[in-house]
Amino acid sequence: MVMPQIKEAVMQLDVSGTENAVVARNVSKNYGKVEALKNMSLEFPRGQLTSLLGPSGCGKTTLLKIIGGLLQPTSGEIEVNGKPVNAPGPDRAFVFQDFALMPWANVIRNVAFGLELRGVAKSEREAIAEKYIADVGLKGFEKSYPHELSGGMRQRVGLARALSVDADVLLMDEPFSAVDEQTRRKFQEDLLRLVQNENKTFIFVTHSIEEAVYVSDQIAILLPRPSRVSEIIRPTGFRSMDADTIRRNPEYLDIVDRIWASLRSYVE
């Protein structure tokens, strides 16, 4: 009779021990009668990259947009740094699947746009933007327009924009799905470095199992109908290894296989 209580107390201690940057509590989202998310709870540890992985229709993008404040949950709440939020805020920055660049603005204005909307003076925001443009490897393209850039370069602009507002949490909605395979691999390696160097929390939506296992500290597998978190996997063995050797690591391969086995039946 006593044992379960002790176990519960230990569990709670564990939760408060790992500090979470973002917490989703019992989040539900209905579109009319359709339940996109049902009673979903999930924790995103600070300074780590958490992937939301699942078949299409599992609500992973919906959850990301709710965290970003772009959608309102029907019930439940989102906490960022311990405070409940229901609108976009300076603590979160978004990277979009289709880049969401403004075609009429050049690279530097696109990158500085987040700061422009916050009322930062032009010279100051352009100095910050220049730094991040160089960081993502686009030095020399400041005055180019988005249509003059390749898909990969456009997403680098989107990434620089998200970094330049210096938010704690980066929300990435399938950021590499619209770029070609080789650029994508380069992006994944860069992302690993980014997670290590920047003290930021990353929430990463993807439908690629390999990508999720490759880049994540924590993978939340979401399943559809009704949408729920079926499993949380934390790859530990290869996280500190060199980027080149991860794909040959047995743990990496095992996790990829395991995830595919559990998702297989949901893919029609």
Partner: protein, 253 residues
């Protein structure tokens, strides 16, 4: 070295004016003057001040009408594009306006507003406004959702999103609406001068025809076409100046 596009423009002008000259010399009709005669009449009217006085009259309803149509057209179009309710309320008016046979409406306008400037401005507006409103509304409605979301997620206010995202994004279609609207406005201005009271360029056309001075009549028509073309070019320059990246292409191409 003259650029290739300019060469082609000159070539096409030579072909058109050459054909005009030949047709005038045959002649296809006694009421059809040659190109050279028309140009001589144009130069004559330009130097004796006739054209200057005429355009002083014609430009009044034209400029007022186009200004009203542009400002209110883009404003109403923006409103319609942003609000479904206003779409239902206002779109039908402009669709009917666009389809209405204007010449048949002119007598009603004259009864209501007399034969002065007001009626002429109305004619210009009826011609120019619908296409500006409908183009603006359509473009605003079709702003890519992800750019609007981007604005929202980077803490843009509603006003920021309208002025910094929706309007620039809609600008190529708004400008094409303006171009169509302005050319329709030119037609409206001349129509008003032919149908309501003969003043300005419309007066030159009517008067020259009545005394069979066909070169002068064609010179007047030619001059208004030239003015319209110049105005459209100016509009294009403004667009390139304001939204450079838009004119060159889209990120989604």
């Amino acid at each position: 070295m003259v650029s290739r596009s300019l060469q082609l423009k000159i070539l096409s002008a030579i072909i058109v004016f050459g054909a005009w000259e030949i047709a005038g010399r045959i002649p296809v009709s006694y009421a059809f003057p040659t190109f050279i005669d028309s140009m001589v009449a144009l130069v004559r009217m330009a130097f004796d001040g006739t054209l200057l006085v005429a355009y002083g009259e014609t430009l009044k309803p034209l400029v007022v009408g186009i200004l009203i149509s542009s400002i209110f057209g883009i404003g109403i179009g923006l409103w319609i594009g942003l609000s479904e309710k206003f779409d239902w309320l206002f779109s039908p008016i402009f669709i009917v306006m666009q389809a209405a046979p204007l010449a048949a409406l002119i007598p009603i306008l004259v009864m209501a507003y007399g034969i002065g400037l007001t009626s002429k401005v109305f004619v210009v507006c009826i011609m120019a406004m619908p296409v500006i409103v409908l183009n603006t509304a359509g473009a605003v409605r079709n702003t890519p959702a992800s750019i609007k979301e981007m604005g929202k997620s980077y803490l843009g206010s509603d006003m920021d999103i309208i002025t910094k995202i929706i309007l620039p994004s809609a600008s190529p279609v708004i400008f094409s609406g303006l171009r169509l609207g302005v050319s329709a406005g030119f037609i409206g201005a001349i129509l008003a001068e032919l149908k309501i009271t003969p003043t300005g360029v419309g007066d030159i056309i009517t008067y020259s025809r009545s005394i069979a001075d066909y070169p002068a009549m064609y010179a007047a028509i030619f001059s208004i076409i030239m003015l319209a073309v110049l105005f459209l070019n100016l509009l294009e320059r403004i667009e390139v100046y304001l939204f450079e990246g838009n004119v060159r292409g889209y990120a989604s191409d």
